[in-house]
């Protein structure tokens, strides 16, 4: 099999401590097995494990990798993966970002960047096609993400340079600090911003001019024209452009699985104040899309009057709206926008921030923490001012914010009494769907390789549709299928939303892949490679001592029934979870402890 397009077969390796920059060739075997994006990242992180395992030490390796489809003519081709050992969870972590950053990196002629080491002074990386420099710039210190992006554009003197930055939270090593580019596209999860912060790298700026290598452009054009047509004819296409992920608010609340009051309740009585229609009517001023995406999920919102007037942000999407709204008892959309803007510009993950603040409010309510331990803040559900203050305190590590900035694992170490009320798996806070109604969703959170995130599997809608008595084996199959296809999108460098939201046929991705690379892989071949990467990330996590004991959803899922709403009384049974976990392991070829079989392990280490 030979590779005829899709790749430059080159990776940029930057050792910051030695100030050494080199371009390394990628072997065809490596490309054919790991495809790109998350696949490249996971393999390189695995190979590097012996050299560095402490996430915030200079030895840790971070990989930035778009995939071979990124930047090409097909729907939503703008995703880039950031892969490393996460400072939040201490295990394998990755996060992906939309926009145009990855496209630019590919146009500069690289299939990815690998960064190790640390520079003594705050700097940014400047990748200008073949010229790569580390540029010290201490005036960027403490600057918020968007301001830093603007400053670097001005310094370089080109509005079309694409820049990924971290905010003050990343500089302050907040363990769930994210990365931002294109004025509001974020790689939020797993603390990728803290890793670059620990390396004293404030930003990566890229300018590329090269043609992307496409093996059969005519063929790609034919297939994609049809794809764009199919998407635009979908009955929900226009509604999707209008509301994007904000349309999910009503669905989730009506289904009774809205994270409300720190995941205690499953529906919020003011949800109709913070849904997509309120956004459209009063706040939305424009659409924003990632590269080559017709769906334009993102909404640019502006607060035009009242206390938060002047607040402007690209967002929120559903997770942010839910975690900073209902989850904190906030029914004022303008306040959600303010919190969203703060998180984006300070450079912090909105899901984790919402979860930790929710935990603090509940802890105070239950008397698990005293007011003095919380800096005497009058924290309660819907207390907008105190919530916004706490967001800033986390980013700047002030008072209680310093403890929260270390994430839920460390919070539990310090206050073990909070373990039952923090919704997290492997140290990553749960994203915004209550798993108590759907055991497959609990399994998805429990077994996700990065922790409780829906990026790997989002099965809740299907299980709600099929009913609770749906066969456990089929539920496990669905989780595994999701865990195989969803990461494949991250390997290819495209967005999964056309598929999951508008029912776009996944077979098309094999056609794009063939047209672009000339590699004759079917969808099945690609899925096999994605599964290989899933086994690989499992083995990375095993090196950190993870096994079955770490594959459980948050305790609340088994212990506290949903108190109200359409799903009142629902809770999962621990016995049933043990059963589905056994089935899941067996189907994956892992043993009862969740350890991949010797044959699988041999394939990885071969």
């Amino acid at each position: 099999m030979s590779i005829k397009g899709g790749y430059f077969k080159k990776m940029l390796w930057i050792d910051l401590s030695a100030e050494k920059i080199e371009v390394r060739d990628l072997s065809e075997d490596f490309i054919l097995q790991y495809i790109g994006g998350r696949g490249f990242g996971a393999k390189l992180v695995w190979d590097h494990l012996e050299e560095g395992r402490d996430p915030l030490s200079p030895d840790n390796l971070i990989v930035v990798a778009p995939g071979p489809l990124n930047g090409c003519y097909l729907p939503a081709a703008g995703k880039t993966s950031f892969v490393s050992i996460s400072p939040l969870t201490g295990i394998y972590g990755d996060s992906s970002m939309g926009g145009s950053f990855g496209v630019e990196l590919r146009q500069a002629g690289y299939d990815g960047i690998a960064i190790v080491g640390r520079v003594p002074r705050l700097s940014y990386l400047w990748i200008d096609d073949d010229e790569v420099k580390i540029v010290p710039n201490e005036s960027l210190k403490g600057k918020r993400s968007l301001e830093a992006e603007g400053m670097i554009k001005k310094e370089i003197g080109d509005d079309h340079v694409r820049i990924t930055t971290l905010g003050p939270a990343g500089e302050n090593l907040v363990r769930f600090a994210g990365l931002s580019s294109d004025w509001g596209r974020n790689a939020g999860r797993c603390g990728m911003g803290a890793i670059l912060g620990s390396k004293n790298i404030k930003a990566i700026a890229v300018r590329g001019s090269k043609d992307l290598p496409v093996y059969d452009l005519e063929r790609l054009r034919e297939v994609s024209r049809e794809s764009f047509k199919t998407l635009s004819r979908h009955r929900l296409f226009e509604f999707w452009q209008q509301q994007g992920l904000m349309s999910v608010v009503d669905y989730v609340n009506e289904a009774g699985v809205m994270p409300t009051f720190n995941f205690r309740s499953g529906c919020f009585d003011q949800a109709n104040q913070v849904n997509g229609f309120v956004m459209e009517d009063r706040y939305k001023i424009g659409d924003a899309a990632c590269f080559a995406c017709p769906m334009a999920c993102s909404n640019v919102c502006l607060v035009k009057e009242g206390k938060y007037v002047g607040t402007v942000v690209e967002g929120p999407e559903y997770e942010t709206a839910a975690m900073l709204g209902p989850n904190l008892g906030v029914g004022n959309f303008a306040c959600i926008l303010k919190a969203n803007q703060l998180c984006d510009e300070l450079g912090m993950d909105t899901i984790t921030t919402g979860s930790l603040i929710g935990t603090m409010i509940e802890a105070l309510e239950y008397g698990l923490l005293s007011r003095s331990e919380l800096d005497d803040l009058e924290l309660k559900w819907g207390a907008e001012e105190e919530i916004l203050t706490l967001v800033e305190k986390i980013a700047y590590r002030q008072g209680i914010g310093d403890a929260l900035a270390d994430g839920s694992r460390k919070v539990i170490e310090r206050w073990p009494q909070l373990a039952p009320i923090i919704s997290q798996v492997k140290g990553l806070d749960q994203s915004a769907y209550d798993a108590r109604v759907a055991i497959s969703m609990a399994l998805a959170y429990g077994t996700s390789d990065i922790g409780a995130h829906h990026a790997r599997a989002w099965t809740i809608a299907k299980e709600l549709e099929m009913g609770r008595n749906w066969d456990l084996g089929k539920k496990a199959d669905l989780v595994i299928y999701h865990q195989t296809i969803r990461p494949l999108f991250d390997m290819l460098g495209v967005c999964r939303l056309p598929w999951i939201e508008l029912g776009f046929n996944e077979e098309a991705y094999a056609q794009y892949f063939q047209a672009i690379t000339g590699i004759d892989y079917s969808l099945k071949d690609l899925l096999e490679r994605s599964n290989h990467v899933y086994n690989l990330t499992r083995m990375i996590n095993m090196r950190f001592g993870l096994s079955r004991k770490d594959d459980y959803p948050p305790p609340r899922v088994f212990e506290v029934p949903i108190p109200d709403g359409p799903q009142a009384g629902k809770v999962l049974s621990r016995e049933e979870y043990e059963k589905i976990l056994d089935i899941y392991y067996e189907k994956r070829g892992w043993d009862k402890e969740g350890i991949p079989s010797p044959e699988i392990q041999k394939k990885i280490t071969a």
Partner: protein, 179 residues
């Protein structure tokens, strides 16, 4: 009937599909940097996005600035004749919209030629932010807006089949006003 390529900036999502299809159609490559249209985003707050397009001016500044008469019209559409172009790039600077482009791989500047009268960018735009319309309809939206903004316009609300509706009318008391 002469047609005009136009933009509705408020609709643009910044997806850059226009750039991409332009590079494929015009130069046969997948490279948004080789396109005759470019999406700009204002910052630091991304409140508006706008594709920069060639207006195909009747009396083009690019043509006037060209010392070698390389900008020539074909069926009313101006393009750069590479035989005559000396690549001094005066046209790039002269265009008031910034709609003539350069690329390190290309020896000459390049500009939109409306794909010979059937622009690919218009067909590819998923937000209908790019339009290719008869020239004489330009300004119609403003003409209608102007009527509706007329100081003596009044509104009456009514309900039809349970749906709230509004009707506008001009108050006859103002009938002697000159607008």
């Amino acid at each position: 009937m002469p047609k005009k390529l136009t933009v509705v900036p408020e609709r643009c999502s910044g997806c850059r599909l226009c750039e991409l299809v332009c590079s494929i159609e015009r130069f046969g490559v997948n490279n948004p940097k080789k396109s005759c249209i470019r999406v700009m985003v204002v910052y630091p707050h991304p409140v508006i996005r706008m594709p920069i397009i060639c207006r195909n001016c009747r009396e083009p500044k690019c043509r006037d600035a060209c010392p070698s008469d390389a900008i020539v019209a074909n069926d009313g559409i101006y393009d750069i004749d590479q035989e005559k172009c000396i690549s001094c790039q005066q046209c790039v600077i002269a265009c008031p919209f910034g709609a003539i482009f350069l690329h390190p791989d290309m020896s000459y500047p390049f500009k939109c030629n409306l794909c010979g009268g059937d622009p690919e960018c218009v067909k590819a735009c998923p937000k209908k932010a790019l339009l290719y319309i008869p020239e004489h309809t330009l300004g119609q939206a403003h003409r209608m807006e102007s009527v509706l903004k007329y100081a003596h316009m009044r509104e009456v609300e009514y309900v039809e089949k349970g749906e709230k509706k509004k009707l506008r009318y001009a108050d006859s008391e103002g009938s002697n006003n000159v607008y």
